[in-house]
């Protein structure tokens, strides 16, 4: 799979797609949606759609595509190559969400959680296929969160097609299995060839599966923590595993929107009844002009 586009800039999101098979512009098509790399604390999450004409679905089934999790890496690679050969009837598109995009979304001022990010990415890919002219009539989606609400939302967004959202859709519907293989192959390749934006010394490429419960992944995180910057952008800072390591091994950082109690709070209620009042002993606040500019008189160094 050609991921050069991602390797050029892996700090945001990267959409890749196959040429649209001519037959998909004319005949009604079925489209499957699945994702790979949702759980890991390392690397991107990859969303994939795969589509083909309803009339050719049997060909896809004949390839014996299955849920990518039940396949070995070799089997996935082989099926991926087979589907590429079917390029005159099978099309695909990917959206690769970098770990940096995931971190900054989930840790944003307005929290954008992984479920919403996933739902919007899936909808974006369906929209992309439609914009390319693919005649999508049926959509099958592996669920994220509650399938009923997810299905209702997608159905509302795409009223012209029949939407089915199901748990384990990747083992129930061949077109979703195919999408899961595209997603997994892309995710594995992206992780394997990850271009670190940082200039790191002694970079250890043995990070295990990337899942938080993998001892190798945890050891890698601990080894690559920097007291000030935390981790390289390859790490999803928003994962509790990453946060826990930062709390222990990196310096504390406070942001203007950090929830914190005001240390200059009103103080004890009884202080208002004492002769000195709550302001006693506190230096006089500077004029508003200086407060608004964050300026203070320095009397010592």
């Amino acid at each position: 799979m050609d991921l050069r586009e991602l390797e050029k800039d892996n700090t945001g999101r990267c959409r890749l797609s196959s040429p649209v098979p001519a037959v998909c512009l004319k005949e009604p098509c079925v489209l499957g949606v699945d994702e790979a790399g949702r759980g890991p604390v390392l690397g991107p999450m990859v969303y994939a759609v795969c589509y083909c004409p309803l009339s050719r679905l049997a060909d896809l089934e004949a390839l014996k595509v299955a849920d990518s999790k039940t396949l070995t890496e070799n089997e996935r690679e082989r099926l991926f190559a087979k589907m590429e050969e079917e390029g005159d009837s099978v099309g695909w598109a990917l959206d690769i969400l970098s770990p940096n995009l995931i971190s900054t979304s989930m840790l944003g001022r307005v929290k954008y959680n992984l479920n919403s990010l996933s739902h919007d990415t899936a909808a974006g890919l369906i929209r992309h296929a439609l914009d390319q002219g693919v005649k999508v009539t049926q959509v099958f989606v592996d669920t994220v969160g509650m399938p009923e609400t997810y299905q209702a939302r997608l159905q509302q967004r795409f009223p012209g097609m029949e939407v089915t959202v199901r748990a384990k859709a990747d083992s129930l519907f061949p077109v979703v299995s195919a999408a899961s293989i595209f997603a997994k192959v892309a995710r594995d390749q992206a992780v394997k060839n990850w271009q670190f934006v940082e200039s790191l010394q002694d970079l250890d490429s043995d990070y295990g599966s990337g899942y938080p419960n993998d001892p190798k992944t945890k050891a890698w995180l601990r080894k690559h923590v920097d007291p000030v910057f935390g981790f390289p952008q390859f790490v999803r800072f928003s994962w509790s595993t990453a946060q826990a390591i930062l709390e222990k091994e990196a310096e504390d950082v406070t942001w203007e929107d950090s929830a914190e109690e005001d240390p200059e709070g009103p103080g004890r209620i009884t202080s208002y009844f004492l002769s000195q009042g709550p302001q006693a002993g506190r230096p006089q606040a500077p004029h508003r002009y200086f407060q608004e500019r964050g300026l203070e008189a320095a009397s010592s160094l």
Binding site: D9, T11, N100, S103, T104, M106, L107, G108, R109, V197, E198, S199, L200, Q201, D226, P227, V228, F229, G230, P232, Q233, R236, F237, S238, A242, L246, E251, D252, V253, T254, W255, E256, D257, G281, P283, E292, R293, G294, L295, S299, S300, L301
Partner: protein
């Protein structure tokens, strides 16, 4: 008053090393919208600088998994920026300085003997004419405190200037 005593305890005499201003090499500075609760060297060149993206919609980077947007800010005209560092004063150094004066900065006349905890030497370790100001998810823009603060020197000059008497 207790607070007055405290203020007296903090009083210091600051000596600038003029030579360090001439020798200060240009420095690259980033002002982040957060506080790292410790002062220590950081591998900015390895982690931060290469991660900065110069896109069509300005500067972008992330710190600790949070998105930042940046802009270049110039030091006000007529001013120069310096990174100043306070020298640690050991007892031995005080003694030596009192005997020989500061050989490097002869222009500074030592009127009184130096005292520990009272005299401080500061010197420049870097100079700058602009720096990068970062905001959390948005470009700080003209309303940012830093921009407004940089207007103070010209206002200060105006209000402290001699008013001609008629």
């Amino acid at each position: 008053m207790e607070s007055a005593d405290e203020a007296a305890d903090c009083k210091q005499r600051v000596h600038l090393r003029p030579g360090s201003l001439r020798d200060a090499a240009p420095a690259t500075l980033h002002l982040l919208p957060c506080e790292v609760l410790v002062s220590r060297p950081a591998p900015v060149e390895r982690f931060f600088t290469p991660a900065v993206r110069h896109g069509a919609d300005g500067l972008q980077v992330s710190f600790r998994g949070r998105g930042l947007r940046g802009e270049e800010v110039a030091v006000p005209p007529g001013f120069s920026g310096f990174v100043m560092v306070t020298e640690e004063m050991g007892e031995g150094l005080i003694g030596k300085l009192n005997f020989s004066g500061d050989a490097e900065d002869k222009t500074e006349k030592m009127q009184e003997p130096l005292e520990r905890d009272f005299d401080r030497f500061i010197g420049a370790t870097g100079s700058f004419s602009h720096f990068t100001l970062w905001g959390l998810e948005t470009v700080p823009g003209p309303d940012a405190k830093v921009h407004k603060a940089l207007g103070w020197p010209s206002l200060a000059a105006a209000i402290h200037a001699q008013v001609p008497e008629d």
